[in-house]
Symmetry: C2
Subunit: 312 residues, 2 copies
């Protein structure tokens, strides 16, 4: 890598591309909705080519991709790396795409996809794709402690000495969506599209119930409906109530299982769930170190690119 | 009530009618799929008239209805009775339908709808409609202890001296359905329609994980997907795994909250979830007293009818 490289965060439902210099400066960027789900039907190479043209990226820049493009149902499967996973393990396991897959992208272009991470514990199996690059982005050699990455499937990782030691996924975001849109609770939610205010009393009340006793959160779900029928609850509070129960249970359980780093949590937040998790962590008494998710992805891609293309 | 009465269990998606003598003998019965959801569009009286004709019920028999027909969106709202609720409280709160609602059903026919039960605790609000009649059916004056009524929303009630003292609802059945059909876990479930075998190792393993630590069950959901991706799990086990996690959490939490009657639980079971809850309760070390749900409904309707029409 002389002048720089192109980094791509290719998720299930989003695409983000940056042209970066080796010092991390961003020379161009392009975002779009063409995630893996979309490209599995239309093809990956044309989407990438379109975004490269958009930023007028030079033909000889190598490209490093993270995320769902490397899943089995993605562009090409980049097999999972195992725990514990230091930065160097991820970078050197990157999959270089064969020429037949990169047609239309400029001859022998060097395009690689970073692997996801697997926790191969038969009792607690888990996988991530994309979040490992965010971890890589914040993991200086000395970084350690609990990291929270909210999303459809919230990931909680434990870092030590710059390596990922363990992690688990909670289906919190997907559960919220299923319950709010498809369950009996939908009848209590007239304002379908509204986002939840992390400071609202209904959200905080639900957190206070779920944080100290995560099991009670699931048992409390039907109460959202019943409280509505009995006139105890304002329908405009229902989404905040549901969100507080689910996020409170998620955070309460993660903190319970992590006595070592209790009190210090790195939150890789994105708009939407980020501020809600920040409120829950603060409510639980944690000191939160905030990191922006997009910045973390970009820094992770840079760290891996430096490993791959400028051998030290 | 001289010769007898007609009892109806009118649920959200089912209709069951019995012609009964005062000694409980069943002289005729008729079942159908015309639950509240169906009748809210087509009307309730015609459905009832059709089933009455089916069993050739005499025109002068009074009719007692329990279940969702008495909900706000049902035939006529029978307001909830409050806790603690002895049998007599339910019977005397039955709502008699006004003449304008019973046209086409034989003049001044005496038709009543039993109320549901409400737990008016602002911190733990809850409601039931239909299950209170099953409780009534098994509640001799001396009946006490924990009662489990599995279903879309599993109800757990605490009885004392023949009265319902408390209860709560768990959305276990609905959560199973949402997760199996609409979540990312659906990709691990090729055999969509199969029922879960309560003796299968995958179900029992999941119970063993969730029963002692209900909070872990929700955290373990994503593991169904990850175990599949990593080759640890057989897809044909996925439904059993999911069912075991959710039912295990439900049962574990209910038993945890009920130290008083631990060890003895009455299970009002129906085909489908009944045997799964029986297995979970046994796995948790409870001694289970089995009662058939349909029998309990019929006995409850009879007990209430005797209160209403043959004043002692």
């Amino acid at each position: 890598m002389r002048g720089g490289f192109v980094g791509v965060d290719w998720g299930t439902s989003s695409f983000r591309l940056w042209v970066m210099r080796r010092d991390g400066a961003v020379l161009g960027e392009s975002h779009g909705p063409e995630g893996m789900a979309h490209c599995a039907e239309t093809g990956f190479a044309p989407v990438l080519a379109r975004h490269l043209a958009q930023v007028q990226a030079p033909d000889d820049l190598p490209i490093l991709i993270c995320g769902m493009a490397g899943a089995r149902q993605g562009w090409a499967e980049a097999p999972y790396a195992d725990l514990p996973a230091p930065v160097s393990a991820l970078a050197c396991r990157a999959l270089r795409l064969p020429p037949e897959l990169v047609q239309g992208l400029g001859g022998h272009r060097d395009i690689r996809i970073l692997p996801g991470l697997a926790r191969r514990d038969p009792a607690h199996p888990d996988v991530m794709r994309g979040e490992e690059t965010q971890l890589l982005g914040l993991a200086g050699p000395g970084h350690q402690g609990l990291v929270c990455m909210p999303g459809t499937h919230c990931k909680w990782a434990v870092l030590q000495g710059g390596a990922v030691m363990s992690f688990h996924s909670a289906m919190t975001g997907e559960l919220f969506d299923l319950l709010a849109r498809h369950s009996i609770l939908r009848h209590t939610m007239p304002d379908k599209g509204g986002s939840v205010d992390p400071g609202s009393p209904a959200f905080l009340r639900a957190l206070d119930r779920a944080l100290p006793d995560p099991a009670q959160a699931v048992a409390g779900l039907f109460g959202i409906r019943a409280g509505h029928l009995l006139g105890f609850a304002d329908p405009s509070d229902s989404r905040a109530h549901l969100s507080g129960l689910l996020i409170g249970a998620d955070v309460g359980l993660a903190l319970r299982g992590d006595a070592a780093s209790r009190g210090r949590v790195t939150l890789i937040g994105q708009p939407g769930p980020g501020p809600l998790y920040a409120a829950a962590l603060a409510r639980a008494g944690a000191r939160v170190n905030h990191v922006d998710a997009e910045t973390a992805s970009r820094c992770g891609l840079l760290a891996a690119a430096l490993e791959i293309w400028s051998f030290r």
